[in-house]
């Protein structure tokens, strides 16, 4: 009991370690991270200030990417760019002001005077003056707390004025806007997502708008899509202190993104694409898996016990029943691959194949185990007993082997079921996993691996506890 409890307490840290190890294995082989992304440690995490300075450098070197990046960063870069504006030469200041100019329209500010002059020199002067005045007037608006308050008010009610205030800070408001999306369960949530997503789409330049008569599930999907986008791009729009930047070395990695997304899906915050696939595949695979396990843990041991009881009917008759082992081996070699790989999609045939596979493999193994455990002395004694006595003796020897077999049989049942699904062209979880391997579907592979690991671990824990109890009870330990 104490041993079982100790192992139960170890499950959580083991699961954490296991998921890390599985992730490392998958990303180092089958699913390499996208270019520029890191699996576990990001030596150069993105933050708004760093990205803004990088864009300014690009601009200085006449790289067109520089101005495009500045516009993309938008309000998130403004505090860092405008606060440094006076430290640059006038020519460079004008170039920066010009590069930032497209933001004026996006932020809903009046730009008519600047474009109406038509004179390039005047226009650039005007743009520089505009941004200087803008920073004097709105510099205090670029504070996370005030932006959060504005976003909360907008999330609660549709206020045009608040929207205009938020447009002024542009992408600086993105972290607060995305945090405020929240769960989507009611019509009120749909309205909130509509208000916020409109602003997010406007600021980020991505198609995140929600249609007028959107349903709850549509809004939920859109909120999920926005958060998935944000998982990868949040760094460039986030204002970070030194400590946060240090943490970002871990949080801006593929593993951290996977953990966040999985956690949100488990909590129902995000819509999960895995759950529908899991339910659809589970309808096919779960009964087959259960039948294969039933065969392995009930029918197989029963067959092995029956064969052994037959063999013990008379002392010295092992030779006469020798073909049984060969028949079992032949059955194993013909029926398992034969039925697994060439079964039609008929339900009962699939079920029969799954049961047969589990039964034959465990019967073969347990019969081999029993045959070696019962030596000539035991055989001699048991051959003189009544039928029931022999059965009881065999069952007592066989019993402790079943908990040992169970966690091993679970993994094998999963393989049998996958073979069956591929052979019969039935779409189940096994086939889904094979496709996930081929298409490098990391979330699915992680989910499949971890859930099977947990099932095996749970079975192992329960079975070992049962084995311990049986030994104490039967005095074998």
């Amino acid at each position: 009991m104490v041993e079982s409890l100790r192992r139960l307490f170890w499950l959580a840290p083991l699961l954490t370690l296991g998921s890390g190890a599985l992730f490392a294995l998958l990303t180092s082989t089958l699913v390499p991270p996208p270019p520029g992304q890191f699996a576990f440690f990001n030596r150069h995490p993105a933050n708004a200030e760093g990205e803004a300075l990088l864009a300014l450098d690009l601009l200085e070197h006449d790289e067109p990417r520089g101005s495009a990046r500045l516009v993309e960063l938008g309000g998130a870069a403004l505090p860092h760019v405008l606060s440094r504006l006076d430290t640059f030469a006038v020519k460079r200041q004008k170039r920066i002001a010009h590069a930032l100019w497209p933001l004026v329209v996006r932020m809903g500010l009046d730009d008519s005077t600047g474009t109406a002059t038509g004179d390039v020199v005047d226009a650039s002067d005007y743009q520089l003056i505009f941004w200087r005045q803008f920073y004097e007037e709105h510099g205090l608006d670029f504070r996370p707390l005030s932006v959060q308050r504005l976003v909360k008010r907008l999330a609660a009610r549709d206020l045009r004025l608040r929207r205009a205030d938020l447009l002024v800070v542009d992408s600086f408001a993105l972290p607060a806007l995305i945090e405020e999306l929240g769960r989507v369960r009611t019509d009120a949530d749909v309205e909130r997502v509509r208000r916020l997503s409109g602003l997010i789409a406007h600021v980020s330049g991505r198609a995140f708008e929600l249609p007028r008569a959107a349903s709850i599930s549509q809004a939920h999907l859109l909120a999920t899509e926005i958060r998935v986008f944000w998982d990868r791009h949040s760094g460039a729009f986030s204002q970070m202190g030194k400590l946060e930047l240090l943490g970002a070395r871990i949080t801006q990695t593929e593993f951290s993104i996977w953990v966040r997304q999985s956690w949100r899906q488990l909590n129902g915050v995000d819509a999960s694409s895995l759950v529908p696939r899991l339910l659809r595949g589970g309808r096919v695979s779960a009964p087959l898996f259960a039948l294969a396990l039933l065969g392995a843990l009930v029918l197989g041991p029963a067959l092995a016990a029956w064969v052994q009881v037959l063999q013990m009917r008379s002392f010295g008759s092992a030779g006469r029943h020798a073909p049984i082992r060969i028949i079992l081996a032949f059955g194993l070699c013909t029926l398992i691959p034969g039925t697994l790989l060439h079964t039609s999609g008929v339900n009962w045939m699939l079920g029969l194949s799954a049961t047969l596979s589990g039964t034959l493999s465990s019967a073969y193994l347990l019969q081999r185990e029993l045959a070696d455990r019962i030596d000539w002395r035991t055989r001699h004694v048991l051959s003189r007993q009544e039928g029931l006595g022999r059965v009881r003796a065999v069952v007592r020897w066989l019993g402790p082997s079943i908990p040992t077999l169970a966690p091993l049989a679970a993994a094998e049942a999963a393989i049998w079921v996958t073979c069956l699904e591929l052979g019969a062209h039935v779409h189940g979880l096994g086939q889904e996993t094979i496709h996930a391997v081929a298409s490098a579907d990391l979330p699915w592979l992680m989910m499949a691996g971890l859930s099977l690991g947990v099932v095996t671990g749970g079975m192992q824990l329960v079975c070992d506890a049962l084995l311990g109890t049986a030994r104490l009870r039967w005095g074998e330990a």
Binding site: F330, G423, A448, Q460
Partner: protein, 200 residues
């Protein structure tokens, strides 16, 4: 014929890995508790990393197909061997008790007794089925050249109508069983004989 060669190569690799690693893990488990915990962990990993996930991983590292299949099937069975060894039906035979009384290592004798279990031999024999199944799965999913030509690939392509394949597979399984029985239990290769255990 060429395909059967790849299967035989995979089976030989798998059996070698399963025997060596399995017996080593089992023996180590008798000597220390952390080793038992590691075997438990590996059993969970065996469930989590199904062979058809692990084999493509090894293939992507540049391992030859027969080798990847052999290593994966061998690792799978090695964990099973270690589990069977460590969960022995621990009757203390007179020879075992006598050995311990004479000052021999209890762990060593227990491990020797455990490796002679029928389930360990049976697990090694079932490696053949594991290899063929894995070949068939990879032939479907990845269509590798060697995998396609192997026995598993041949069965997956519909070659099951020939009795020759099934008989070959059965002979292979029984041969592995006889060999494992000879090595681990010191028994006569005659499968139907109860034989005599060498030491235990």
């Amino acid at each position: 014929m060429n395909g059967l060669f790849w299967t035989l190569l995979s089976v030989a690799t798998a059996c070698s890995v399963a025997t060596m690693v399995g017996l080593l893990l089992g023996r180590w488990g008798f000597a220390s508790n952390p080793a038992r915990a590691i075997v438990n962990l590996l059993t969970e990993a065996r469930g989590a990393l199904l062979p058809f996930i692990l084999a493509p991983m090894l293939l992507s590292l540049g391992l030859a197909e027969w080798c990847a299949i052999g290593v994966v099937a061998g690792w799978t069975q090695a964990v099973a061997v270690a589990r069977w060894m460590l969960r022995q039906n621990s009757e203390w035979s007179p020879s075992l008790l006598g050995g311990i009384a004479l000052g021999q290592s209890g762990a060593s004798l227990a491990a020797e007794s455990a490796r002679a279990r029928g389930a360990v031999t049976g697990t090694l024999a079932l490696t053949v089925i594991q290899v063929v199944t894995l070949e068939a799965l990879l032939a479907w999913a990845h269509d590798g050249v060697h995998v396609r030509d192997s026995l598993g690939g041949w069965i997956a392509r519909g070659g099951s109508s020939s009795l020759f394949g099934w008989l070959g597979l059965t002979v292979l399984l029984l041969a592995v069983e006889a060999l494992a029985s000879r090595i681990l239990q010191g028994k006569s290769p005659r499968l139907w004989s109860q034989g005599v255990r060498r030491r235990v």
